[in-house]
Symmetry: C2
Subunit: 361 residues, 2 copies
């Protein structure tokens, strides 16, 4: 433990180093560099190691001398595209910016990695370079979900690292999710829910009933509240802070919600064009509607986090613009400052270290 | 087959009879009777058998003499509430309006049943009174999902009849979904998709890979197009007409979408109150926004259908208002006129009767 504490206290003195993959996002290198620039202007205590094509990165940094002096560029020839198969990248991706970005966290040169690239490939590279943390069977991807809670977001995991989850995995997701809610959302005593269908007696699969029991047993010692089963409609509600599910169900739910939000934004635009009155209304309400669109746009509420590896990786949305990238970097910085990787490992490995310590994260 | 044809042709001459459960909806008997009234005004070729508390139903019908003469009321003492357990209703629900409503379809006195009541109980009563159709292993609940398709809705099934589905069940859902799309949405050659995660090579559970193969084999002979795997984001899209999934995933997706739509409507209302400009905008855009809200309100796009039983049951949303009930009745009437129950049974029992007959439904 003394080593961990030293490391955590170092974090608060030395600047955090973030490892950024500049390639692979839909909007190109400039969106990533702009995102770094936006975030770094207000946060002086962070340095960046940027991985990708020097010929594209260097001119963009040269225009921003204040940023330039806090960045190190590592040239990489290869780029992982959105269509690349994870298994191919795992075998042949050594020259890519994604690989270099993860390696830098592996070699302890950076605290947290950030990439906008292909999720499947990023998880595959993270798995083979960082390896699973001791005691973890299945790593998970946790995302922030727009919600009615005061903090504006709930945490949901797993949203697609693995298509299966046993009861023991769901328990680990609950422990990791609670730790993430403390360190990412500053919730001391998060409320955990287990995603299920209906509230009738025949409810749920066998592994869910077993997980219900096991998560319930850990609630007090691991300092979270277990609210029991929740339904799909509760995901964006203020009944719960962390929603635990398997990666198949979580991924379908996430994409269904994105699809629904996209359809509603389209219908809203159509509604404003329906009548001359509505068009006048649109002009008056423009600013407010634009903020609503942004709030519910997945490219904005950014940053999936890979949990359960020896190192923390933030997956930014592929379509993220500069503000989206800045949001992902803010999350990475917060997790790095809190020494999240070490805390999470300690929390999970021991089931629950530091019982009844309300301040422990 | 000749019997079926006789029956179908009878449907087009004699008025259809619908069996309506007047009780159990959140808005009470008057919403149901109003819904029947709204629909019946424009549709003279339909009669109703109404089940429930005579003391509430009769005064409402007495005010509508044109409707009264096309209705028969069957008094029932019992009401299934939203909190009643399905297993309890199955054992002790013989005196309820829900039971009587389903029995009327079982006894061939009505073509299709409609109820706003408790979904779990309605499925349980339908299962024991109507029984599974020959060859069906797991009945399914199919719903209409607001979409970007010209018809305005896609079909999704199963959304919660059963929490499990094997490959053979998913194939039956595809066949039943295709038949429903033909008879409920008038789509001659519906496009079927199988819900899955990601598009990477590691995709999906074993039963999904097997179902992919089997559905693909049936596409030509059963007169549908198989578009392969689709993701959550495709559910409201115009890539597909029928989405096939297990009842656990389908139920989570449905409730997640409802939760997302509800959150967005709330945020929209907030957005219109944010600034004086936005409030003026809201006044101008009021009508259009109201139509949008209605379009995306699950209480409006109404009518889940139980498929795979010896009889068709339309489950209206519990919170449906009179217009919602009218929408559910419209769906029930259309399915009844088309002789849907018999066609579906023939279609599934034989795998695919009537090969290459484009007009067959």
């Amino acid at each position: 433990m003394s080593e961990d504490i030293n490391k955590v206290s170092q974090h608060s003195i030395e600047p955090t180093v973030l490892s950024i993959d500049a390639m692979g996002g839909d909007l190109g290198v400039s969106a990533v560099i702009n995102g770094i620039h936006i975030y770094s202007k207000r946060n002086q205590d962070v340095k960046f190691i940027i991985h990708g094509d020097e010929a594209q990165i260097k001119p963009l940094l040269a225009k921003r001398p204040n940023l330039l002096k806090r960045c190190e560029t590592r040239h990489c020839k290869g780029v992982v595209s959105m269509d690349d198969k994870p298994s191919h990248v795992m075998r042949h991706g050594q020259d890519t910016s994604m690989w270099s970005c993860i390696n830098t966290v592996r070699d302890k040169q950076a605290d947290v990695a950030v990439s906008c690239g292909n999720t499947g490939a990023l998880m595959a590279v993270s798995m083979i370079r960082l390896r699973k943390a001791p005691g973890i069977n299945r790593p998970a991807i946790a995302i922030l979900w727009p919600s009615e809670n005061p903090q504006g977001s709930n945490v949901m995991l797993d949203v697609g690292a693995d298509i299966r989850a046993e009861a023991s995995d769901l328990l680990q997701y609950a422990l990791m999710g609670a730790s993430y809610a403390r360190n990412g959302l500053n919730l001391e005593h998060p409320r955990i829910g287990l995603l299920n269908v209906g509230t009738e007696e025949h409810k749920g699969r066998i592994e869910l009933k077993e997980a219900h029991e096991r998560i319930s047993e850990h609630a007090e010692s691991s300092n979270f509240e277990f609210v029991g089963f929740v339904e799909g409609g509760d995901i964006p509600s203020n009944k719960v802070d962390v929603i635990v599910t398997d990666g198949f169900t979580g991924n379908v739910a996430l994409k269904t919600a994105e699809g629904t939000a996209t359809l509603m934004r389209k219908l809203l635009r159509q509604a404003f064009k329906q009548t001359p009155f509505a068009m006048i209304g649109a002009i008056f309400a423009y600013g407010s509607i634009r903020r609503l669109s942004k709030k519910t746009d997945p490219r904005q509420s950014n940053g999936g986090v890979f949990l359960g590896l020896n190192g923390t990786v933030v997956k930014s949305h592929g379509g993220a613009d500069a503000n989206g990238v800045a949001a992902a970097i803010r999350l990475a910085h917060q997790l790095a400052k809190n020494g999240f990787t070490d805390k999470l490992a300690a929390r999970v490995a021991s089931g629950s270290i530091m019982n009844n310590d309300v301040d422990s994260k």
